[in-house]
Point group: C2
């Protein structure tokens, strides 16, 4: 038996189509959407991700300005730039890339992003509003997890979802989105005792740890739906997830890497940007 692959490509394409339509409408109305990406790192995989966003934005008809402050930028300068972009009427959405210089915390600096432009849900106010059930932009990756499940008709209400990883950008907001959809939610992490036992209780397993192959067959209940959020670079320039390929023999369904959560994430980021521009 091999797990049903839960591709993100069709869903991403549908979101892109909607996004491009809205972007065209906004441009025709004299309010073209614009995304600002603030970066302050020489990290290669971050640069790769920024280029992919610029390309995707261009295809959707969204202007994208990369504000590169360099890997030595002081936190105060990053914060000021986020504030001025927040006040800039031409800018619809703002993303702050990680890693940040000098151990600055994303959650801390991102509080300078106006919530209405916080298209990757990085401002703690966005997370709090999400947790409180108030309108807010969710981090695109976390939202991609639930959108891909819904797209493939996976029932969430009343089912047990286990999230492995407790980051502010993925694990915690994904847990809130799953709770909101009436799943019972368990959050595990590096300090969890007997991870295989806890993870394999899940009808749905979300792997968001950022370590290649950490989730093996023993972590998976037979027939479970597995969402692989990991995007770990390989030596030969490829990408692998957090889920060991052998899991496909045990899971009922599994999102591929690449082609699963990743394309949906990028599509949602741009969808959020046109949403932000409409308000």
């Amino acid at each position: 038996m091999s797990a049903r692959p839960l591709s993100g490509r069709d869903l991403a394409a549908a979101i892109r189509t909607d996004t491009a339509e809205r972007a065209a409408e906004l441009a025709a109305a004299g309010r073209p959407p614009k995304l600002a990406v603030v970066t302050a790192t020489a990290d290669e995989s971050s640069a790769w991700y920024v280029r992919s966003i610029v390309t995707a934005a261009g295809k959707a008809g969204i202007a994208c300005e990369v504000v590169d402050l360099g890997p030595e930028a002081p936190a105060a300068e990053i914060r000021e730039r986020l504030e001025s972009l927040s006040a800039d009427g031409q800018v619809s959405g703002i993303i702050l890339q990680t890693p940040l210089p000098g151990g600055a915390k994303l959650e801390d600096l991102a509080s300078a992003i106006a919530p209405a432009k916080d298209v990757d849900g990085a401002n703690p106010l966005s997370l709090g509003r999400l947790a409180a059930g108030l309108p807010a932009f969710a981090p695109a990756t976390a939202e991609a997890v639930v959108r891909i499940l819904e797209h493939h008709g996976v029932e969430l209400a009343g089912r047990h979802a286990v999230v492995v990883g407790r980051s502010t950008v993925v694990g915690k907001p994904a847990a809130h989105l799953l709770l909101d959809r009436h799943a019972t939610v368990t959050v595990c992490h590096s300090r969890t005792a007997d991870l295989p036992a806890v993870a394999s209780a899940g009808d749905i397993l979300v792997a968001a740890v950022g370590r290649a192959g950490l989730i093996t067959a023993e972590h998976v209940k037979p027939g479970a739906v597995v969402v692989d959020v990991g995007t770990n670079p390989t030596d030969d320039g490829g990408l692998v997830g957090d889920v060991d390929p052998a899991v496909a023999e045990r899971a009922g369904a599994l999102t591929p890497v690449p082609g699963g959560v990743g394309p949906v994430t990028t599509a949602l980021l741009l969808w959020h940007t046109v949403q932000a521009a409409r308000e």
Copy 2:
């Protein structure tokens, strides 16, 4: 076998002592702490709770102003009052009582409470900061859960904590505080399938549903530590928790109601108020 009672009285007394010392220091420095309690309800149990806060504040040397806007107050008036109290240099801490008139949401109105004065962690920004690991006031009840566990030497790191209840004021923030202390955390609720099976996986079980006796022996792993957050009024004017008394025969330890989480909650609210006054 009968569960060890995890009283909150000693811990509450210790917090009250610290609070009274700080309050006296602040008063001597010409910056007396003051708590404002905004209420807009005729609800009897809310009125009872407000009176208990006023009494406790008085004993701690904290001025307490009850701002009663009446059960017909429009949301805009409540919001304006919260904003003016937030701007008032004499006020250290602000609480907004529930229930609110006309179906107004606490999470929504509480966004008008300045985070620095949000001593019951009701502003979604406080919840988001808490979830992001940034300094913030936690809702006093949620903090009382972890403080009472720590006071009694209950190990949290690596253990499985199950929280029954997903409210913004207790279940969700308690889950974040437990995660922060490296527990593996499961959140269950009314839509959870097979609650007894999920709840009885917990080494620690936090009952925060608000229904008398909902948690019975079948929900409890033998020897588990059970925290009863429920405060359900009885017909004869007493209080009972969410946990059925028979659980005492199965749990290893259990917080009593009254005398468990309740007194710690009130003590923490006043402790937060002197903390807020120092900043």
